[in-house]
Symmetry: C2
Subunit: 201 residues, 2 copies
DNA sequence: TACTGAAGCGGACCGCCGGTCCGTATCGTA
DNA sequence: TACGATACGGACCGGCGGTCCGCTTCAGTA
């Protein structure tokens, strides 16, 4: 029952692998052009070390993704409004979607790698479950909306990594333009009828 | 410049391959558990024949998808309202999205295979381009909407194959329930303010 | 500091899959 | 029937995710 602390070299290697994977995903265009052997080499580590630490390729990507997501997660769980728990749903929902979008804009390749990593759809990852549940809960406090469960899925679908990559990456849509469009779309769903000024914090 | 007609055996094999792939994708749960060798064997054909006819795995899946999509495509391009070109945008947009959703419900595994086939995001396929362009065009004829280009993407994102699989497949959401939810969501975007009765043709 | 067993390491190795090659069989035509 | 062109198919290849096992390094003990 006693938790054994991992050894120092294990921790050092784990960090090295994270850094290496991060760099490689950012450098290469296509996520699956990054092989496990590549990451191991870049990290100065044996391939088996990767698999021992993370199980398989999906595990590695998931772990990296969760790590990068951590700041946003804590901002949502204990930060100030409009992202934090003290905000009213009508302002928190757009803030949350904007945060997700910004994260995917900033970590395009990583998000892409996660979502299109063959085994296991994005919907089985627990971070998706978290976002969806939170979003649904917030929507439930806003009157007059369509089915909240589906609506939460549909809104999150508008921030899918490959869509972000398609618009911001390939078609060159500027970051703030896309943020504004998502905000407008969200406002429309929420029934906010005032005109035209999407937030731009 | 003269088009050479393909030989009979080539045509026969092509059809056999389609049938085999269709059956296999429907039978297995995960699309990438279906290997090219599997398809070749099931079709009673050599592996090289697959690659000669379709180029690569993606080409085969795309060709099959387009073939299955053909009825809907023609219903949209030359059928009667509400799907056909004579319908008003306010009724054609929901009809179109419903048709796409139904198609993905009926061809879940195939759609999944196409969208998560690693090379090339779904957004580079020409059938997506077609749906998106048509949808955007229709939205442009409806006043007071958010950015039409983005809205078209976002609406289509709500019918993504893996989302459909997640809701209808794993969570067991009934077909008509999901259709109604998508219809409600769409209506909300279109600004249709009348209450509560989503179509169920 | 020397000892020691356990935790961790790494690269050779495996099975599988997408994709290619080339000798052979089949088609369509005269 | 004969013959060129077209298509066939299974052996083959390179590369990837994942595993195995002999070796190294850590950290507690005296």
């Amino acid at each position: 029952m006693t938790e054994r602390r991992p050894r120092k070299d294990a921790l050092r290697n784990r960090a090295a692998v994270f850094a290496a994977a991060d760099a490689l995903f950012a450098r290469r265009q296509s996520p699956d052009s990054v092989t496990m052997a590549d990451i191991a080499t870049e990290a100065g580590v044996g391939k088996a070390t990767l698999f021992r630490a993370f199980g398989d390729r999906t595990g590695l990507i998931r772990a990296l993704y969760e790590a990068r997501l951590e700041p946003i997660r804590s901002a949502v769980e204990q930060g100030p409004p409009p992202l934090g728990p003290d905000a009213e749903p009508l302002e928190r929902v757009p803030a949350l979607l904007d945060a997700v979008l910004c994260f995917k804009l900033d970590n395009r390749h990583l998000a892409l790698a996660l979502e299109q990593t063959g085994s296991g759809s994005p919907y089985s990852a627990e971070h998706y479950e978290r976002w969806h549940t939170l979003l649904r809960t917030l929507l439930e406090r806003i009157p007059g909306l369509p089915d909240r469960d589906f609506t939460a899925h549909a809104l999150l679908a508008a921030t899918r990594a490959d869509l972000v990559e398609h618009l911001a990456g390939e078609k060159g849509l500027p970051r703030d333009t896309m943020r504004a469009q998502l905000a407008e779309f969200t406002a429309r769903i929420l029934g906010v009828r005032e005109n035209s000024h999407p937030a731009q914090p």
